[in-house]
C-alpha cells in the first residue's frame, strides 16, 4: 500500500532493507518516528551518520573502533602474545563479557564458505600473518563457530601457521552449558563434549 506522503514511503522502504524488518514493522517504526519529538528523530539520524563517519576497523585486530588502534589493542595491560581469532566483532563482545581473556583479538570478518564465495582472500588472514610473523606471539586461540565453516576456517589457520617457530595454535573446546542438567542438554552437544573430554 502506498502512503500519500512520498517521504514516509521512502523511510518505510529504507527500513525494510534492515535485517529482520518486514514491511509491517517498518511501517510501525516509521509512524512512531513521525509522532515522536523532533529531537528524538534528529538524535537517531545523527547517530547513524556518525556511525558511518567515525566507526571503522581497527588496523591491528579488525574489530570495530573509533580510535586507531582500538581500546583493546592500545591497552598496555593486555597480553599481546596471545591472539584470539574470531569470526565477527560481536564474538569479541561475547568473549569480553566472560572477563576471562586478557589477550588480544583478531577479527576475520567471516568464515570460509566457497558456496558464498568466501575463500581465504576474503578473510582478514594476511593481516593475521603480519601480526604473527615478527615473533613475540606464543599462542593463537581459534574461536570460530562450531559449524563446518568455522571448523574449516580453524583447520585452515592451523595449517597456515604451522611453521611459525614458537607458536602454538589452539582451538576452543566444545562443551555443555553451565547450570543446566546433563539430562536436558541437547544430544549433539553432549556427544561432542564427551569426545572432547579431558583429564582432571
Amino acid at each position: 500500500m502506498q502512503y500519500s506522503s512520498a517521504l514516509l514511503e521512502t523511510v518505510i522502504t529504507e527500513l525494510t532493507r534492515l535485517p529482520g524488518l518486514g514491511r509491517k514493522s517498518a511501517q510501525r517504526i516509521a509512524f512512531h518516528l513521525l509522532r515522536s519529538p523532533e529531537g528524538d528523530a534528529k538524535r537517531l539520524a545523527q547517530s547513524i551518520v556518525d556511525l558511518k563517519a567515525k566507526v571503522e576497523d581497527c588496523r591491528i585486530c579488525g574489530n570495530v573502533t573509533e580510535t586507531q588502534p582500538c581500546a583493546i589493542c592500545a591497552d598496555s595491560r593486555r597480553d599481546n602474545s596471545v591472539i584470539c581469532v574470531v569470526e565477527q566483532p560481536m564474538d569479541v563482545l561475547a568473549i569480553e563479557r566472560t572477563g576471562e581473556f586478557r589477550g588480544s583479538y583478531h577479527v576475520l570478518k567471516g568464515a570460509l564458505s566457497p558456496i558464498d564465495g568466501i575463500g581465504p582472500e576474503q578473510l582478514k588472514l594476511s593481516e593475521l600473518i603480519d601480526r604473527v610473523k615478527p615473533g613475540g606471539v606464543v599462542e593463537v586461540i581459534v574461536a570460530t563457530n562450531p559449524t563446518a565453516q568455522g571448523e574449516a576456517t580453524a583447520l585452515y589457520i592451523a595449517r597456515l601457521l604451522q611453521n611459525v617457530p614458537g607458536l602454538r595454535v589452539t582451538r576452543i573446546a566444545r562443551g555443555v552449558p553451565m547450570g543446566s542438567d546433563l539430562e536436558f542438554s541437547d544430544q549433539v552437544t553432549l556427544a561432542r563434549a564427551l569426545s572432547g573430554r579431558k583429564e582432571i
Binding site: 570460509l112 564458505s113 566457497p114 558456496i115 575463500g119 581465504p120 559449524t147 563446518a148 565453516q149 571448523e151 574449516a152 576456517t153 583447520l155 585452515y156 595449517r159 597456515l160 539430562e183 544430544q187 549433539v188 553432549l190 556427544a191 561432542r192 564427551l194 569426545s195
Partner: protein, 338 residues
Amino acid sequence: MRLQSIELREFRNHREARFDLRGDSVLVTGENGSGKTNLIEAVVLLSIGRSFRGARDPALTRRGAATFEIRGLVEDRLGVTSEIVARGEDVAVLNGGPASRRRFLDVALCQLESAYVGSLRDYTAALRQRNRLLIAERHGPGTDPNEWSAWEEILARTGVALDRRRRTLCAEMGRNLRELSQQVDPTLDPTVEYHDGFGDSGTLEEAAVATRLQLLERARPRDRRMGWTMNGPHRARLHCAIGGEELSEGASRGYSRLYSILLRLALARAFEERQNDPPVVLLDDPESELDPRWIGRVLKLVPESSQLVVTACRELSETPSRYRRLPIDAAALASSAA
C-alpha cells in the same frame, strides 16, 4: 515408548476418530480405503513431524477442512521416542537405489546415536563446500592448497566416523537378520552388508583419517574434471540379498517384501539391545505380497517388549491370541463416507 491412544481430527479420511492402543499388541482391521495406513502415517507424523509419504499439510487435511489435528497419548521415559515402521512401500525404499538405502541407515542412526547427527551434518556441509571449490577452480585460478585441505580434513574425519557407525549397525542388523530368518525359513539366508569403498575398517581411526585425507588430495584433479567429490560415505553402498539374490536385481517380490520386514525387525532388535526403551513396531498390512505361511512366524519375531500395531483387511491367517482386535469402524466417532 508405549502408545496409549491416538486421536485424529480432519486427518486424511478421518473426520474424528479415537484409537485406544493400550495393551501390547493391537490388530487394526478394516476394508481397503478405511484409513488404516492413515493411522500409521499419523503415528509417524507425531514422532518425526513429517509424513513418510512425503505429503505436505494440505494433502493431510481432510477435504473440505481447514486444519487437521493429531493427538497422541504416550507413556514414556523422557526423551526417547523411536519406532520401526514396516510398510509395503519399504520394498521400494530398498529398491530405490543406493541413495534411499543410505537414507534408511542415516535415519536409523540419527535416532540411535546422537553423535551421528553432528557428523552427518558436518560431512554434508563440507561436501557441498568442496564440490563448490571443484567447480569454482575449473574456471578460475588455482585455490590455495590449505583451503582444500581444510575441507578435506572435515570430510575425512567425519567420513570415517559415519562409515564406522554405519558398518557397526549393519553388522548388528546382519546378525539379527540371520537369527530372525532362521525362525521363518532356514533356507532364506538374508544378508545386509555395508561397503564404503575404502576398506579401512581394520585400521585405527587416526590412520584411516590420514589415509582418506591423502586419497582426497590425490583425487582433486579427477574430481575437478567430474565436478564433484567421487569418494566418501555419500557414495557408499548397502548390499541387501536374500536367497543369494540382490534385492534390486533377482529377488522375487515376495522375498523382497519378507526381506524388507525382516530388516526392520532386525533394526527393532538393535534398538532394543542398545536402548532400554524398546521401539513401537508398526506393521502396515503385512499380508500384502507376503506368503501367508510366513505371517505367523514373522509376527513372533517382534521383540517381546515392543508394542506392536498391525493393520490388515481382516483377521490374519494366523492371528496370535494375545492381539487385541480393533476394527477401524469402531474407532471412528464420526467418519466421512470417503
